[in-house]
C-alpha cells in the first residue's frame, strides 16, 4: 500500500439531494499527460512554467477544418493567421499542412518570408502597411487586402512607379446582425463604400483585383453572421461580373471562429456552445454554392481562422507557488504563470487542471499569477482541488494569442516546447534570460556609473 498524498483539511457543507442550478459538484479530472508524455517530466526537463504545444493536435484540427470545408466546396484554402501564434515552428506545421500565410504587419510579413512562404502565398491584411511594406508586397506578388482609401491611393501611386502589378482585394465590413459591428476595418458594404472602392480599382488599369475579404468579428458564436457575410460578398462578386465582366479569383471569409474556451460570463461552457467547423462550413459554403455566381466562376474560398485552429493545441503547465487565505475567507492559490503569460485570462475562464491525482474535495478558490500586480488573476473563483506548494497544474486551450500577446513583465518568458507526433518534446523557443532583455538596451555613457 502506497502512502496517500497529504491534502489540507477543509470544512465544506454537504450538498446532498438534487443538484441545484449550479449543477452537481464536479470533480476536475487531473491531466497528467499531454500526447502521452508526462507533464512532470516536461517540467523537470524544461522548467516551470512551460508552454507545451501539441503538433498532432494542430495537424488534426487543421485536417478537421479543411475536411469540413473541402467536402462542401470545390476550391478551399486556409491561410495561417500569424498574429494568433507566430512561433516559427507552429507556422511551419501549418505550412506543411498546406496553409498559406495571413499577416497584418511588416514584421509578420518578414516572418512569413523568412519561414520560406512564397510571397504570392501571403495575404497582407491590416490597417497599418507602410510604404516600404506595400512596395515589398507588390514586388513579391503578395495579395494586399486594402483597408482604407488612403491605402488604395498609395497603392495606385506605387503601381505607377513599379513594374509589378499590385494584386489587391478589399476588406469589406458589413452589418451581419451581430454586436458590436466591426466597422473600423475595410470598406462598408451598406453605405456603398465597398462598391465605390471596387469601382475605383476596376477603373485603374494598373491594379489586379483578385478577391474580396471580410472578417466579421472575433469569437463568433453564431454561424448566421457568416451566412449573411458570405451572401453580401457573393452579391458584390456578382455585381462585379455583371458590370465589369470581372471574375474574382477568391473570396476570403476571414476567421473569427470560436474555439472551445469558455468566455468570461458565459452561462454554458464553450465546449457545449461553440459551433463546429462543420457548422461554419455549412453556413458559408451553402450560401456561395447557391448564389448566382456561375458554377465555373466559383471563386476559391480562403479562410484565415486562427483561434479555432490552435487554441486546443496549447497547454500552459506550471507549479503552485503558495496557498493563502483571503480576507473574506476564500482560498487563494498562487501559480507561477499569470496574465503576463496568459493574456487570454482576461477573456476566458480557462480550464485549469491539476496534474497529480487529487481527491474529490474542492474549494472555492481564486487563482493568482506570480506578478506583483492586482490584476494578475487567472481565475476569479473556481471550485479547485486542494493543491499545495510544489504541485503542478496545467491550463488547457492556450494556443491562441498567448504566444504573441504575452508580456515580458516582471518575469521572463519561459521555454516553449512542441511535442511531435510521437510525443517527443522539441524546444521551439528558448526561455528568456537577462541577456535577452539587456541586449536590446543601450546605456548612455553618463549613466554607466553610479555610487550607492
Amino acid at each position: 500500500m502506497t502512502k496517500l498524498d497529504f491534502e489540507r483539511p477543509i470544512i465544506q457543507r454537504i450538498n446532498a439531494g438534487l443538484p441545484s442550478k449550479y449543477g452537481m459538484s464536479h470533480r476536475l479530472e487531473p491531466l497528467s499527460h499531454i500526447d502521452g508524455t508526462p507533464i512532470k517530466d516536461l517540467i523537470g526537463e524544461f522548467g516551470s512554467p512551460l508552454f507545451v504545444l501539441s503538433e498532432s493536435t494542430i495537424r488534426k484540427t487543421y485536417k478537421e477544418a479543411h475536411r469540413a470545408f473541402s467536402s462542401r466546396y470545390p476550391n478551399v484554402k486556409f491561410a495561417w493567421s500569424y498574429k494568433t501564434n507566430y512561433l516559427n515552428a507552429v507556422c511551419n506545421v501549418f505550412h506543411q499542412e498546406g496553409a498559406w500565410a495571413e499577416v497584418v504587419s511588416g514584421f509578420e510579413y518578414d516572418k512569413a518570408i523568412a519561414n520560406g512562404v512564397p510571397g504570392e502565398l501571403i495575404l497582407f491584411n491590416g490597417p497599418d502597411k507602410s510604404t516600404e511594406d506595400l512596395q515589398k508586397a507588390i514586388r513579391n506578388n503578395s495579395l494586399i487586402h486594402i483597408d482604407h482609401f488612403d491605402e488604395l491611393y498609395e497603392i495606385i501611386h506605387l503601381s505607377k512607379e513599379m513594374t509589378e502589378r499590385p494584386k489587391v482585394a478589399i476588406r469589406v465590413n458589413m452589418d451581419t446582425g451581430i454586436y458590436p459591428k466591426w466597422d473600423r476595418f475595410g470598406f462598408n458594404y451598406e453605405n456603398g463604400e465597398a462598391w465605390d472602392a471596387l469601382n475605383r480599382i476596376m477603373a485603374n488599369k494598373n491594379l489586379d483585383l483578385m478577391g474580396l475579404h471580410t472578417h466579421i468579428g472575433t469569437y463568433m458564436m453564431s454561424v448566421e453572421a457568416y451566412r449573411i457575410a458570405a451572401g453580401k460578398l457573393a452579391d458584390l462578386a456578382i455585381k462585379l461580373e455583371r458590370k465589369h465582366g470581372h471574375v474574382l479569383k477568391y473570396i476570403d471569409m476571414g476567421g473569427g471562429f470560436a474555439s472551445k474556451n469558455t468566455l468570461r460570463g458565459a452561462y454554458y461552457p464553450g465546449t457545449d456552445t461553440a459551433p463546429s467547423f462543420d457548422d461554419f462550413a455549412e453556413a458559408i459554403t451553402s450560401v456561395l454554392m447557391s448564389s448566382d455566381i456561375k458554377p465555373d466562376h466559383l471563386p476559391m474560398l480562403i479562410l484565415e481562422t486562427g483561434r479555432a485552429m490552435i487554441d486546443d493545441a496549447g497547454y500552459l503547465v506550471g507549479t503552485v507557488i503558495a496557498n493563502k487565505r483571503l480576507a473574506d475567507g476564500r482560498r487563494a492559490t498562487i501559480l507561477d504563470a499569470g496574465v503576463n503569460l496568459l493574456f487570454t485570462a482576461f477573456w476566458y475562464e480557462h480550464d485549469v487542471r491539476p496534474v497529480q491525482p487529487v481527491s474529490d474535495q474542492t474549494e472555492d478558490t481564486t487563482l493568482y499569477g506570480p506578478l506583483c500586480m492586482n490584476i494578475d488573476v487567472i481565475r476569479g473563483n473556481v471550485m479547485f482541488p486542494l493543491l499545495k506548494k510544489g504541485d503542478q497544474y496545467v491550463i488547457k486551450r492556450v494556443g491562441a494569442y498567448n504566444n504573441t500577446q504575452w508580456m515580458q513583465f516582471i518575469t521572463l518568458r519561459p521555454n516553449v516546447v512542441m511535442l511531435d507526433s510521437k510525443g517527443n518534446p522539441h524546444l521551439i523557443r528558448k526561455r528568456e534570460v537577462l541577456e535577452t532583455i539587456n541586449s536590446q538596451e543601450v546605456m548612455p555613457e553618463h549613466l554607466k556609473q553610479f555610487k550607492l
Binding site: 495537424r59 488534426k60 485536417k63 478537421e64 475536411r67 473541402s70 467536402s71 462542401r72 466546396y73 470545390p74 476550391n75 498559406w100 512564397p118 510571397g119 504570392e120 502565398l121 506578388n141 495579395l143 502589378r165 494584386k167 483578385m210 479569383k249 477568391y250 455549412e282 459554403t285 454554392m289 447557391s290 458554377p295
Partner: protein, 726 residues
C-alpha cells in the same frame, strides 16, 4: 500536272493494297513483279489507271483513292485478263471497261459491306473477273493466251537467252518443295507462276511488315501440313493457284483486321483448315461452270469470321478487331496495346466523382458486404479522418459522421430519371431493409447509361424527375436512408433506369487516388476498397496552355530563329490534332476538362511538333504539389526502324522495347501570381529494361499560356519560345 499529284501515291498503294499495305516501296516492288510478264504488267497498269481516274473524276473521297482502295481490285482484274488473253486492242478495251466497272462494283460493295463494318477485300475483282470470263466465251476475236503454257518461248522473245537462263536458274534453285510452293503461291496472286516473282513478293512483305511476313509463312505451312494430314495429293500447280488464299487469310485474320497476338496466331490453326476445305468445296462447285475460284475462299472465310466477331460482348479479350486501320500489323499492334493500356478502360461518356474533397472507398466492386451478384459493380464512399475513423465523438448519431449531410453532385450532365426523397434517415446501426436503396436519384447520361446515387438524406434531393442537371451541380446530401447502418454514399452505373437495376462495369474519369500510400492520377479508375479519392481542380494556367481549341494557332521560335507554326484541326472522325504548317506533321490528341493526352503522331520525327508530342503526352490540368505522371508510348512512336525491326517479329508475343514518359509538377503552389510554372519530364527508351536513351523536356507557362518549350536529347537541344497562341 500538280492536279495529278495524287496519282503516284494512289498507283503504288493500289499494288501494295493487295497485301493490305500502303508502303510505297512494297508497291513499287509489286509493280515490278507484274512486269515480269510485260503484257501482264501493262494490262495491270492500264486497269489500275482506268480505275483510279474513274474514281477521281466521279469524285470519290480522295484519301481513299490515295490509299489505293479503288485500285487494287482493278489491278487484279487487269493482270488476270492480261495473262488469260492474247494482247491486242480488243483486250485493251476490255481491260479498260473492266477497270472502270471494278470501281463501281467496289463502291457498291463498300456501301453494302461497310454497313456491317466489313471490308470488301477482293470481292469486286472476283465478280468482275468471273463476269468477263463468262462473257468472253462469246468473243470470237479474243484469243486465249498461250504464254502461260510456253513460258520459255515468250521469255526468249523478250529477253533472249540470258532471261531464259535466269528464269531457269530461279526455278532450279535448290530448295525444299514447300518453299517453292510458298513462293509460287505468292507470285500467283499476280498470276505470276514463278519463283522469282514469289521471292520478290516475299521480300516486299518483309520490308512492309515483319508480322505479315511471319503470318504468310505460318498460314501457308498450316495449310501445307493440313493437306498432308488429309492425304490430299499435293500438286504444286493446283496448290499454288489457291495457295495464296491461306497466305492472305493468315495476314488478314492474323494481324491486319485483328490485332496480332498469341490468340490470333493460335486462331489460325483452326481457320486455315476451314479455308482449305472451303477452297476444295468451292472448286467442286465452280469447276461445273469452268470458273477458277481464285481468292474466293479467302474472301468468304475472312468476311464470315470478321462478321461473327462483331457480335462479341467485349472486344478487349483476345482476337480484338482493329478500330483504327493504320495499314500495318505492327502499327496496329503497338497502337492498340498502348491504347488499351492507356484508355482501354476509359469510359465513352465520362462520369466523374459525385462529391467534393477526399472520400474513401469503404466498399468497392465485388465488395464483402452488399456489392455482390447483379450489384457487384458499385462503390460505397465515406469520409475518413486521419485516425481512419468515419465519425467524430462516439458516432452514435448520423450527424457525427463526416460524410453525413455533405453535398452530392451530379457525376455528369444528364436528365433526372427517378427520385425517391421521403425515406427517413436511420438511427445509427439500424437498417431499413424494406426500402433497401433509401432516398435515391437516378440520372440518365446517355442511352443505356444511368448513374444511381443512394442512401441520401431525407428531403435533400433537389431536382425532380425530368430536370436537366449539369456535371458538378449539387443534387442532394449524403444521408443514412435505406439499407444503411451508418451514413455513406452508394454510387453505381447501370444500363436501365430503374431502382434496383443491375450494375455495369464502368470507370470513373480523372480520379486522383491514394491507395496503399501511393498517389496516382488516373484518367479512368475503378477505385478499390480503402482508396482515398478526389477530383483535382484544374489550374487555369495549365488549362489555358494545353486546352487546344480547333482553329487555334501556335507559333514557336527556336533559339536559332526558326519558326514553327501549328494549327489545331479536326478530321472527319472528329479526332483533333495539331498540324505543323512547315512539315505537315500531325499530332493527334484527346482532351477533356482535366487532362490532355496525345494519342498519335504522323509525319516528320525531326520536327518540333514530334518533340512536343512526346513531351505533352499526358498533362493533367490539376495537380498536387510534386505530382508525378507516368505513361507509356506506343513502341513504334519512339523507336526507329533499325531498333524495332527485330522486335516486330515477336511483338505479338512479347514487347521488350518500352518508351516511358514521366512528367513532374512543381513542388510549390504559386497561388494567384503570374509567376511562370515549370513542368519537367523525361522520355526514356528502354530495351529489356536497360535504358537506351533519355530525352528531357521542360514546359514553362503562365497565365498567358505556354511560354517556352525545351527539349534535349543526346543529339540536340531545342529551346522554343511560344510567340503567340491564339
Amino acid at each position: 500536272m500538280k492536279k495529278f499529284e495524287w496519282l503516284g501515291q494512289s498507283l503504288f498503294n493500289s499494288y501494295a493494297q493487295v497485301f493490305f499495305s500502303n508502303n510505297k516501296w512494297f508497291g513499287i516492288i509489286l509493280l515490278g513483279i507484274t512486269f515480269v510478264d510485260v503484257y501482264v504488267g501493262f494490262f495491270g497498269l492500264t486497269a489500275v489507271l482506268a480505275a483510279l481516274l474513274t474514281a477521281y473524276f466521279i469524285g470519290l473521297y480522295e484519301p481513299n483513292i490515295r490509299q489505293g482502295y479503288y485500285g487494287f481490285n482493278a489491278l487484279l482484274v487487269g493482270v488476270g485478263l492480261g495473262i488469260y488473253f492474247e494482247p491486242g486492242l480488243l483486250l485493251f478495251v476490255l481491260v479498260l471497261i473492266a477497270g472502270i466497272l471494278t470501281v463501281f462494283i467496289a463502291v457498291t460493295m463498300e456501301g453494302v459491306l461497310g454497313k456491317y463494318g466489313l471490308p470488301y477485300l477482293s470481292i469486286p475483282f472476283i465478280l468482275v473477273f468471273w463476269m468477263v470470263r463468262l462473257a468472253t466465251r462469246e468473243f470470237g476475236e479474243l484469243g486465249l493466251s498461250e504464254r502461260g503454257v510456253y513460258v520459255l518461248n515468250d521469255l526468249y522473245l523478250l529477253g533472249g537467252r540470258s532471261l531464259v537462263d535466269m528464269y531457269e536458274w530461279w526455278n532450279q534453285l535448290p530448295m525444299p518443295l514447300s518453299f517453292k510452293a510458298y513462293f509460287l503461291s505468292l507470285g500467283a496472286i499476280f498470276f505470276q507462276s514463278n519463283v522469282f516473282a514469289g521471292v520478290l513478293a516475299a521480300l516486299g512483305i518483309l520490308i512492309y511488315s515483319r508480322i505479315a511476313f511471319t503470318l504468310s509463312l505460318w498460314g501457308f505451312y498450316l495449310a501445307y501440313v493440313f493437306y498432308l494430314l488429309l492425304g490430299i495429293p499435293f500438286s504444286e500447280v493446283s496448290f499454288s493457284y489457291i495457295g495464296f488464299n491461306y497466305i492472305l487469310t493468315a495476314i488478314a485474320l492474323g494481324g491486319y483486321f485483328i490485332i496480332p497476338s498469341r490468340s490470333s496466331y493460335l486462331g489460325l490453326i483452326a481457320i486455315i483448315p476451314v479455308v482449305t476445305i472451303l477452297g476444295i468445296a468451292l472448286q467442286q462447285v465452280f469447276s461445273l461452270i469452268y470458273l477458277p475460284i481464285h481468292s474466293f475462299p479467302f474472301n468468304l472465310a475472312t468476311l464470315t469470321f470478321l462478321y461473327a466477331l462483331k457480335f462479341r460482348v467485349d472486344n478487349r479479350i483476345g482476337l480484338s478487331t482493329i478500330f483504327w486501320q493504320q495499314n500495318s500489323p505492327e502499327k496496329n499492334l503497338y497502337s492498340f496495346s498502348n491504347f488499351h493500356k492507356r484508355f482501354g478502360e476509359d469510359s465513352p461518356v465520362p462520369i466523374y466523382l459525385p462529391f467534393f474533397g477526399e472520400w474513401t472507398v469503404t466498399q468497392g466492386h465485388n465488395g464483402a458486404y452488399t456489392h455482390k451478384d447483379a450489384w457487384r459493380y458499385a462503390w460505397d464512399f465515406e469520409i475518413k479522418d486521419e485516425q481512419n475513423k468515419t465519425f467524430k465523438d462516439e458516432g452514435d448519431f448520423p450527424t457525427d459522421y463526416y460524410c453525413f449531410d455533405k453535398n452530392i453532385l451530379a457525376p455528369a450532365d444528364g436528365t433526372v430519371e427517378a427520385v425517391v426523397n421521403d425515406i427517413p434517415d436511420n438511427p445509427i446501426g439500424a437498417n431499413n431493409l424494406e426500402k433497401n436503396w433509401g432516398n435515391t436519384i437516378i440520372i440518365k447520361h446517355a442511352d443505356f447509361l444511368y448513374s444511381k446515387l443512394s442512401h441520401l438524406k431525407q428531403g435533400s434531393i433537389l431536382p425532380k424527375p425530368g430536370d436537366k442537371v449539369k456535371k458538378g451541380e449539387v443534387i442532394g446530401k449524403c444521408g443514412n436512408s435505406g439499407n444503411s447502418p451508418y451514413p455513406h454514399l452508394h454510387f453505381q452505373i447501370q444500363a436501365t433506369p430503374y431502382i434496383g437495376s443491375k450494375t455495369i462495369d464502368f470507370r470513373i474519369t480523372d480520379v486522383w487516388m491514394r491507395v496503399t500510400g501511393e498517389e496516382k492520377l488516373m484518367s479512368a479508375a475503378n477505385p478499390p476498397m480503402d482508396a482515398v479519392v478526389s477530383t483535382l481542380m484544374p489550374e487555369n494556367d495549365l488549362k489555358k496552355a494545353f486546352s487546344f481549341v480547333v482553329g487555334n494557332r501556335l507559333l514557336f521560335e527556336t533559339q536559332e530563329g526558326k519558326r514553327h507554326e501549328w494549327e489545331v484541326k479536326r478530321d472527319y472522325s472528329l479526332n483533333k490534332y495539331l498540324e505543323c504548317q512547315q512539315t505537315g506533321s500531325k499530332a493527334y490528341f484527346k482532351l477533356d476538362e482535366a487532362m490532355l493526352h496525345f494519342t498519335h503522331f504522323e509525319g516528320d520525327r525531326k520536327s518540333l511538333l514530334y518533340a512536343f508530342y512526346l513531351s505533352a503526352f499526358k498533362v493533367s490540368f490539376g495537380f498536387t504539389n510534386g505530382l508525378k505522371l507516368k505513361d507509356r508510348f506506343p513502341v513504334h512512336m519512339v523507336f526507329n526502324i533499325n531498333t524495332i525491326f527485330l522486335q516486330d517479329f515477336i511483338a505479338p508475343f512479347y514487347q521488350y522495347l518500352k518508351g516511358e514518359f514521366t512528367l513532374t509538377y512543381p513542388e510549390k503552389n504559386k497561388g494567384f501570381s503570374t509567376k511562370p510554372l515549370s513542368l519537367k519530364g523525361q522520355v526514356l527508351k528502354k530495351s529489356w529494361g536497360k535504358t537506351l536513351a533519355v530525352s528531357e523536356f521542360e514546359f514553362v507557362l503562365d497565365g498567358g499560356g505556354l511560354r517556352t518549350f525545351g527539349f534535349k536529347n543526346n543529339k540536340n537541344q531545342i529551346l522554343a519560345t511560344c510567340i503567340y497562341d491564339s
